[in-house]
Structure formats: structure tokens, C-alpha cells
């Protein structure tokens, strides 16, 4: 059996708020992601998906539990070690336009990780143009500003940015939720194609069970911070064990 690329053990995040009840955003989550696999995470808004992503990337310290990415224990990392971990994982965010600095071009955003890893400016620019083309945009988009392009185009550029340092794990945090249905389909198509071309694992976070069924090999269902069900999408949908999953499926089918 191969080693998982991402392993999450008993991951928990409790937000302590002054004078109010604690928020258990993620409770005791445990799952693995195998190399080359695409794992879907579904759950309604507020079920802790983004909090989970922030802990996986190490941007948010976990209350307890561990995240291990390709041999690096992210939950123990700080500073330099975290930067090393970020070379192996990148995130595509929900709101494409806001995921780029409004004062910098898309090209600047795509080149940033390369420049931070001492790639020359000319080389980084060439890579950015190639990446844009790989993601279905003309290379002229390097000079555009985020407010000058559509949401779908911006999300393509965000995917290009995420791919720039060739991460082993791509995390899509509701990367299609803010887009129109047709654009959503295009982005899914792009991701499917990229998966085929590049050797990459994907954590696909979504609140649309139909999309997850179409795109993912395996699926994790989150409800109020807890993982209530795991399995192959078709099986989970055919025979949901958990009451919440059943409601979720019934609501859309």
C-alpha cells in the first residue's frame, strides 16, 4: 500500500470567543488522501470546510491533531518549514477576484511563488505565460488586473498561479461556487484535464454533491465540523448511512 500524500489525524479546531460559547469549527477529523487521488469534501456552509483547509495549509494553528503532507508534519511547522510545505500544496480560493491583489497584475500573482523561490524574472514570466495557456487563457493575461477579467477567467488564472511551483497537492476551496453553472462546468473540465496531464492529488471542497460525484474518486461528508461519512461517491449516494447525508442527497435528487 502506498503512503498517503496527505494524512489528517484527529484534527480539531475550537475557536474561543470572549464571553460567548466556543465554536467547534472542526471536530476530530481523520482521513487520508492517496497520491493521484481526488478527494471530495462536501458539507453545507459553515460546516468547517474552510477552517479545515486553513489548518491543512498551516495558516491556522490546529487546536489538536496532526496534518502530515508528504512526510512533513505541517501542524508542527513554523516559518521556514512552513514555506517548504507550501511548495508542495497550493490553494484555489472561492472568490477568484479577491484572491488576487487588486493592485497587481495576474502575471505578478502567478510569478510570485516562482520569484520567492529564486527563479529569474524572465524565466518566471515565461512560465506564467505558459501556465495561463495551459489553463485556457491567452498569455496577454499576464498584464491584466483582476478587476479587468471575468470571474471564470480570474479563476483560471488562480489555478495557473496554484500550479506555478508544481505542487503535489492542489486544494480547491469551493473553487467553482462563486461562478455561473456553465463556467463551473468549464472549470471542472479544466481541472479534469490538468489532473490527467499533471501528476497531482486534489482535495476538492464543495457544497454541491452532484459536482463531487462527477469529479471525485472518494468523498468525505462534513456536518457541523465532524466527518459523518466517507466512501466512494456512487456508493454513498446510493446508500447513505448517515441521516444528514440522506437529507443532503434527497434535497438535490
Amino acid at each position: 500500500m502506498a503512503e498517503p500524500i496527505l494524512s489528517i489525524q484527529n484534527l480539531t479546531k475550537t475557536f474561543k470567543l470572549h464571553g460567548r460559547e466556543d465554536v467547534h469549527a472542526v471536530k476530530d477529523a481523520t482521513f487520508d488522501l492517496m497520491p493521484g487521488e481526488c478527494l471530495g469534501v462536501i458539507g453545507e456552509s459553515g460546516s468547517g470546510k474552510t477552517t479545515l483547509v486553513n489548518m491543512i495549509t498551516g495558516l491556522l494553528p490546529a487546536t489538536s491533531g496532526t496534518v502530515t503532507l508528504d512526510g512533513i508534519e505541517v501542524t508542527k511547522c513554523k516559518g521556514k518549514d512552513l514555506r517548504k510545505a507550501w511548495k508542495k500544496m497550493q490553494v484555489v480560493f472561492q472568490t477568484p477576484t479577491e484572491s488576487f491583489d487588486p493592485r497587481r497584475t495576474l502575471g505578478d500573482g502567478i510569478m510570485e511563488s516562482l520569484r520567492n523561490n529564486s527563479v529569474s524574472k524572465a524565466e518566471a514570466l515565461k512560465r506564467a505565460e505558459e501556465l495561463l495557456e495551459l489553463c485556457g487563457l491567452q498569455k496577454e493575461f499576464v498584464k491584466r488586473y483582476p478587476h479587468e477579467v471575468s470571474g471564470g477567467q480570474c479563476q483560471r488564472a488562480a489555478i495557473a498561479r496554484a500550479l506555478a511551483i508544481e505542487p503535489k497537492l492542489l486544494i480547491c476551496d469551493e473553487a467553482t461556487s462563486a461562478l455561473d453553472v456553465t463556467i463551473q462546468a468549464e472549470i471542472i473540465e479544466l481541472l479534469t484535464e490538468l489532473r490527467r496531464k499533471l501528476d497531482m492529488s486534489i482535495l476538492f471542497i464543495c457544497h454541491d454533491i452532484a459536482l463531487v460525484q462527477q469529479f471525485c474518486d472518494r468523498l468525505v461528508v462534513m456536518y457541523r465540523g465532524q466527518i459523518v461519512e466517507q466512501g466512494v461517491p456512487s456508493e454513498v449516494i446510493a446508500a447513505p448511512k448517515n441521516g444528514y447525508t440522506r437529507n443532503l442527497i434527497n434535497s438535490i435528487l
Binding site: 507550501w86 511548495k87 497550493q90 480560493f93 479577491e98 484572491s99 488576487f100 491583489d101
Partner: protein
């Protein structure tokens, strides 16, 4: 087609805004030029006393008349521009830089550092400005330098608060997380992403503060805590001549008018820059 009138209104508003921006920046630049070239512009030596022509009413030779030592008031007002405007700009620059550094630092580090820095800034905010200036003058002595120090000490917290809240807002944006994941150092992210994105509101606040600070500096000088006679400074000139308000009102009127006009120009410029940077207006500009 339906929203054509609103587009036209927007365009009109934008055009007048641009006209205002050009007008007020020109006036502000003019003021700066006057203060830079004050020596060349003064028709007489602002410090030369000639008691034989003391307290002369405004005339063709002496536009604003002469004071009780026979110094040409017009020359003194122009010379005062240098002191008043440069010390104000210096003061505003100091508080903008210090406030921004403290605010960004507090928001960046967070936790206890943030709490302590913000409590300190509250402490300074709670101090009545004049009382603090009196205390500083008492400890360090009077003089323009110390007036600037006193005003800087109580005015930076406003900028620290703005910089802090703006930085916190940037930290919540997805682009900020993307920049972190790109692996840049804190300094790099602050310089490349945070500062450019928070500069707008901070600069507008500094612009709007120029007028206020000019008044406060003049006020301190008026009370004898800032520039000291015979230095030509508008506030101290008003203080110096107020005893003659009955017999030679022009002596008080001239520096008063200078303060009024300068403060107006900088305030209007600040307002216009704020409107100009307002994203709602900018969106209109792109439509």
C-alpha cells in the same frame, strides 16, 4: 439605455471632481512654491525694523501695512508661510509614518503586542492636546521643535488605528492567504501587498490632517508654546499683534487670513482626494 441619465450625472460629477482636483492641487502647489521661494518673493526684509514707519496702514508700498517695529507685514506673512507650512508638513509626515508603522506592526503581530500598543495609543488619544503640549513645553521648553514633538506625540495614534484596521482587513482577504502560500517573507508581503493597499485611506487622512495640524501649530505658537518672536510664524504673529487689534487691525488680519486660506486649500484638497479615491467614483470612471 435606461440608466443613461445616471451615467451622465456620474460623468458630470467625475468631471467636476477632476476640475476640483486640478484646482486645489494647483493652489496647494502654489502655496508650497511661495514657502520655498519666500526669500525671493519678499519685497522687504521681514526682520528689518524701521521705527519711523511703524504701524502704517496698508498702502501700495506695504500691502498689509507695517507692524509696531516698522517691519513690512506682507513680507512677514510670506516668510511665515515657510515656517507654518513646512513645520506642518513635517509634523504630518512624522505622524503618518510613525502611526502607520505602529498600526501595521500591531495588526501583523497580533496578540499581546497588539493589545499593549493599542492601549498605549488610547492613552495618548485620551490626553487633551493642549495640556500635553503645555507639559512638553514645561519639560523640554517652548519652541517650534517642541511644539512639533508635542503634537506628534498625541496625533500618531489616529494613524496607528487606521493602519491597524486596514491591515487586519487585508489579512482577511483571500489574496493575502495566496501571498503567504507563495512563500514570501513577512517584510516582503507587507511592502508588496499590505502597504500599497492601505496607503489610500492613510494618505487621505494625512491630507485632511494638514489643515488641522496647521491650526494646532499656529494655536500653540499663539500661546507662546511654538515659534517665538521675532520668528515669522502666523500663529505667533497673531499673538504678537493682537494688542493692536483696535488701532491696527490689519496686523492681525493678514496672518489670520493666511492661516484661513492655507487651511481651506489643504482641507478642500483632502476632501477632493478622498472623493477621488472613493471606489464608487472610480467605478463610475471606468464605466
Amino acid at each position: 439605455m435606461k440608466n443613461e441619465p445616471t451615467v451622465r450625472v456620474q460623468k458630470l460629477r467625475r468631471d467636476t471632481l477632476k476640475a476640483r482636483l486640478i484646482l486645489f492641487s494647483t493652489l496647494a502647489i502654489l502655496l508650497l512654491l511661495v514657502s520655498v521661494f519666500c526669500e525671493q518673493l519678499c519685497p522687504y526684509d521681514p526682520y528689518a525694523q524701521d521705527l519711523s514707519i511703524a504701524k502704517m496702514a496698508p498702502s501700495a508700498e506695504h500691502l498689509f501695512g507695517t507692524d509696531r517695529y516698522g517691519r513690512d507685514m506682507f513680507s512677514r506673512v510670506i516668510a511665515g508661510a515657510k515656517t507654518s507650512i513646512f513645520s506642518t508638513l513635517l509634523l504630518v509626515a512624522i505622524i503618518t509614518v510613525i502611526g502607520t508603522i505602529v498600526g501595521v506592526f500591531a495588526a501583523w503581530i497580533g496578540g499581546w503586542t497588539d493589545t499593549i500598543l493599542m492601549r498605549i495609543s488610547d492613552l495618548f488619544l485620551a490626553f487633551p492636546g493642549l495640556v500635553f503640549a503645555l507639559a512638553v513645553a514645561g519639560v523640554l521648553g517652548g519652541g517650534l521643535h517642541n511644539a512639533i514633538i508635542a503634537l506628534a506625540a498625541i496625533s500618531w495614534p489616529k494613524f496607528a488605528r487606521i493602519a491597524r484596521s486596514q491591515t487586519l482587513a487585508q489579512k482577511e482577504m483571500p489574496y493575502f492567504r495566496a501571498a503567504k502560500l507563495a512563500g514570501g517573507s513577512s517584510l516582503k508581503i507587507i511592502v508588496k501587498h499590505v502597504l500599497p493597499n492601505i496607503m489610500g485611506p492613510i494618505l487621505v487622512t494625512s491630507m485632511l490632517d494638514i489643515g488641522t495640524m496647521m491650526m494646532e501649530l499656529a494655536g500653540l505658537s499663539f500661546l507662546g508654546l511654538g515659534a517665538k518672536p521675532p520668528a515669522a510664524e502666523w500663529g505667533s504673529m497673531i499673538s504678537d499683534t493682537r494688542g493692536l487689534l483696535q488701532t491696527a487691525p490689519w496686523l492681525t488680519f493678514a496672518p489670520g487670513l493666511a492661516i484661513f486660506v492655507s487651511v481651506m486649500i489643504f482641507n478642500l484638497l483632502g476632501d477632493t482626494v478622498r472623493d477621488y479615491l472613493d471606489p464608487k467614483m472610480r467605478k463610475g470612471a471606468r464605466a
